[in-house]
């Protein structure tokens, strides 16, 4: 475990050093900017609430991507699955009569989100399992199709006049954390964060404790050996991509049920793609994914906090540096680097 963490920590340190240089180039003191960043995020309840909120969506998409990677599949479709999951949750919430008890409505909306994501995921899943079609290409293409479809249906059938979002859902709203801890007042953090933690625990249990997880990881590591071990590789591919889609779809509940109580065009805003970075930085481990989601959420929220002294794009650059540095510490990339290394 220690050996697995060390490269990531070194990568993060390198990212921090490059961040220092960037900050210095703006004529600011790195210490002061980092302090500002931390104060604006972990330093007060509102900032921390925003970090939690952003991390929640990223945790779902990160888990989705990492589950695919464990099976040797690169699901780039989390963006579309996330959007469609959110939309499905909103449709269920609109379909339910107002006054449906939360105990019934919330699980139904959540199930709707999971099913919506799974439905989108089932397209690359069946094409991969049946024909061996590259899931990378199918999921990228499908993102455009799904987002365009949602755009069309919201714009023509389901929108509130003058706005690009659906009406408020009748049932299924999830309370904000502020309703229990007043300090979070104003932040979007809501109880879906618990669902994200539960999802991470589930993914960890599924991958490492179940027979299917054993088979799924085997397929990801050595498909030929898995096949020899009686694993039907196509079926595992199918399940992994569907489950990955469901996880990404669940991410939509954070915005739709927990924050706005409606589906809005473009709410995913790249969180699906950032899920790839979250999975990489989290080393495809559910706990790692939770930490990585917090890290990227902190950077994203921190960008707003330091905007007064340095451009907030600087934090976006820093995010990119983190991704590159950590990607370079992934074993496959390391092996490439080692070839040209000379002994001392």
């Amino acid at each position: 475990m220690k050996e697995k963490l060390l490269p990531t920590l070194i990568a993060l340190t390198i990212a921090a050093v490059i961040g220092d240089i960037l900050i210095l180039s703006f004529g600011q003191s790195p210490g002061a900017v980092y302090r500002l960043l931390l104060e604006g995020t972990w330093g007060n309840a509102y900032g921390f609430g925003q970090v939690l909120y952003k991390a929640t969506t990223l945790a779902f998409t990160g888990l989705a991507v990492s589950l695919g990677l464990r099976a040797g599949l690169f699901n780039i479709g989390a963006e579309g699955q996330l959007a469609f999951g959110g939309f499905s949750a909103a449709v269920v919430g609109l379909w339910l009569p107002s006054g449906t008890p939360a105990l019934l409505a919330v699980p139904l909306c959540i199930a709707g989100a999971a099913l919506g994501g799974a439905l989108v995921g089932s397209v690359p899943a069946s094409l991969k399992a049946r024909f061996g079609a590259s899931e990378v290409i199918v999921t990228i293409m499908l993102n455009f199709i799904v987002l365009a479809f949602l755009n069309w249906i919201v714009a023509t059938k389901l929108h509130v006049a003058e706005l690009l979002h659906t009406p408020d859902i009748h049932a299924g709203a999830v309370p904000r954390l502020a309703s229990v801890i007043p300090g979070f007042h104003g932040s979007a953090a809501n109880f879906i964060v618990l669902l994200a933690i539960a999802a991470a625990l589930f993914v960890g249990w599924y991958l490492f404790r179940t027979r299917e997880g054993y088979e799924l990881r085997a397929v990801g590591l050595q498909p030929a050996a898995a096949e020899y071990g009686g694993v039907r590789v196509g079926i595992i591919w199918f399940r992994a991509l569907v489950l990955s889609g469901a996880l990404a779809g669940l991410g939509g509940t954070n915005y739709v049920l927990g924050y706005k109580q409606y589906y809005e065009e473009g709410f995913a805003a790249g969180a699906g793609y950032l899920g790839i970075a979250v999975a990489l930085v989290g080393r495809n481990h559910p706990l790692g994914v939770l930490f990585a989601a917090l890290l990227f959420a902190t950077l994203s929220q921190g960008g707003l906090a330091v905007n007064a002294v340095v451009p907030k794009q600087m934090v976006e650059v820093l995010t990119a540096v983190v991704i590159i540095a950590v990607a370079a510490s992934v074993p496959e990339v390391q092996r490439l680097l080692r070839v040209s290394r000379k002994p001392a």
């Binding site: 404790r209 054993y214 590591l221 050595q222 030929a224 050996a225 002994p343």
Partner: protein
């Protein structure tokens, strides 16, 4: 080399007090090696004795933790592979390091491409392959893709690659493990030629008859340490085997492994006589199997294997044996023909359905199929039996761990730590995981493909004993081996495969290495197709 005339030239390689650990696993401790220029030097030892690790340090793949390496009197401790190649030290690995999507010629020149301007000079590369091949006897068609080569051919390319780089100190990690007897004889000719041209060869091997036949000097390693260095003239197979394992060894086929080369023609001893049971456990009829290369890689094969019998299929690799085994195991679709397991006709049965009906399978390539290298020993010991080791879809950890500790003890898998990844183990210990697992499940038919490839005498002894034990227990064993000696030592009936067909099936008593040789090379065509 020029320079002040020394009384004796410095040794080609001298390694002293080498230590190397990988995490908790100590691969070498107090390992040493002294190779005289212009000799063939054998390095022998059990699996996990640290032979390959020591060789890799000599070739500059990784540095030792402690100790000193000298090449021709120069301290080169911790040098790089590039330095090693520049100094004429080249290594051929047990597991090939070729690019499958490139041709033979392209692989050969990889890293030092012959160019004309910025264009790759393919023609020159191909000519180089041909001329090197003609010079050394390592003939391979330069324009073929490496993916299409048999293992034996791929190895020829590996050796050519090292020679092409100008190596005159050649380190070979178990080179004969994948060769047929005629190929081995050719290979010895190549080595003797290299030696007479002033080259030095360090040869890792498990086969003591090879040590006796080809080497001038032997270094014996045990548990990471060098335990002895003797002149081959002064050694006997028995004395070397004893040094290797630290005890007397009794091989199931010991007259073969320890005896003189001619001894293989001796008929089997009484305990190897076929069992009386004659129930057909595996029946194959007119089987045709396609590969990516050929539509009829297996070209109409028929045979029976009876309960309590070992049917050995000999033949040079790449004659359809691998595809035959895969088709029986359900890993490759048959184009036509039938396979029956006892009374069950296997049609579209999955791998698991076949396993549940009594098929056990030791696959040819443990790194690709037999093991998940990143998985722990414990997890590898249940591969293919994950349903038996789970309850309602959840892995039964307690049962898995109990199984692991039993198997590790029973099969002496080293190091005895169930949580180590299979990758950390030596080839022989990896193979023990596969054997332990496949023997533990209930089965009536055992497919054993190259079961002793790349494992040492101690492990060969064990694996052979296991195969014979399965036979005694009334199982039907289909043994495929490129090692004719092994087939002759174990099989009740011997078949030869050539060009996708079974060209000969005879009772063991009627088979001899001399008699089978022509069939294996296609010189004599059988009618028993």
């Amino acid at each position: 080399m020029s320079g002040p005339a020394a009384q004796a030239p410095p040794p080609a390689i001298r390694a002293q007090n080498i230590r190397k650990a990988f995490g908790p696993v100590v691969a070498n401790a107090r390992a040493s090696l002294d190779v005289t220029l212009g000799t063939i030097h054998a390095v022998v030892g059990e699996n996990g004795a640290g032979k390959s690790t020591l060789m890799r340090m000599l070739a500059g793949i990784f540095p030792p933790d402690a100790g000193q390496v000298e090449v021709r009197g120069r301290d080169v401790t911790g040098w790089s592979t590039r330095d090693a190649i520049a100094a004429g030290v080249g290594m051929v690995h047990q597991h090939f390091m070729l690019v499958p999507t490139l041709t033979v010629a392209e692989n050969l020149i990889l890293g030092q491409e012959l160019t004309r301007g910025i264009r790759l000079d393919r023609k020159a590369a191909e000519q180089t392959v041909e001329s090197l091949g003609a010079k050394t006897g390592l003939v391979v068609e330069p324009t073929r893709l490496v993916a299409d080569l048999s293992v034996g051919e791929a190895q020829r390319v590996e050796i050519l690659k090292v020679l092409y780089r100008g190596a005159h100190i050649l380190i070979l990690d178990e080179p004969t493990a994948v060769l047929s007897p005629p190929e081995v004889q050719d290979f010895w000719r190549v080595l003797r030629k290299l030696k007479s041209d002033g080259g030095t060869v360090v040869l890792i091997t498990h086969k003591l008859d090879e040590v006796m036949e080809i080497s001038d000097t032997v270094t014996v390693m045990r548990a990471g340490e060098t335990v002895g260095r003797v002149s081959t003239r002064d050694a006997s197979p028995a004395s070397i085997a004893k040094m290797m394992v630290g005890r007397d060894v009794v091989l199931a086929a010991d007259r073969v492994a320890l005896g003189a080369p001619g001894a293989v023609a001796v008929p089997p001893t009484s305990d190897l006589r076929p069992q009386t049971s004659s129930a057909t456990a595996l029946q194959v009829r007119d089987l045709v199997v396609a590969s990516s290369r050929r539509d009829r890689e297996v070209d109409g094969v028929s045979f029976d294997v009876h309960a309590g019998e070992i049917l050995g299929i000999a033949g040079v690799e790449g004659n359809g044996q691998a595809e035959l085994i895969e088709a029986i195991a359900g890993l490759r679709a048959a184009s036509s023909g039938s396979i029956a397991l006892g009374r069950i006709q296997l049609t579209s049965h999955t791998v698991r359905e076949r396993a549940d009906r009594g098929l056990s399978h030791i696959p040819e390539d443990r790194h690709r199929r037999g093991l998940i290298l990143e998985y722990t020993i414990a997890d590898n010991l249940i591969l293919g039996q994950q349903y038996e080791f789970s309850k309602r879809g959840v892995l039964d950890r307690r049962n898995i761990d109990a199984n692991a500790s039993t198997q590790i003890k029973g099969y002496d898998i080293r190091p005895p730590n169930a949580t180590l990844p299979a990758r950390a183990l030596s080839g022989g210990n990896q193979q023990k995981i596969v054997i332990a697992r496949e023997m533990a499940r209930p089965f009536s038919v055992l497919l054993a493909a190259q079961p002793t490839r790349g494992v040492d005498v101690g492990a060969i002894e064990f694996i052979h004993a296991e195969l014979l034990r399965a036979r005694e227990a009334g199982k039907a064993v289909l043994l495929v081996s490129a090692d004719l000696v092994e087939v002759l030592a174990l099989a009740d009936r011997v078949a030869v495969m050539y060009g996708g067909r079974i060209v000969l099936i005879v009772p063991r008593a009627e088979a001899s290495a001399e008699g089978l040789g022509p069939y294996m090379t296609g010189a004599t065509k059988g009618d028993a197709a």
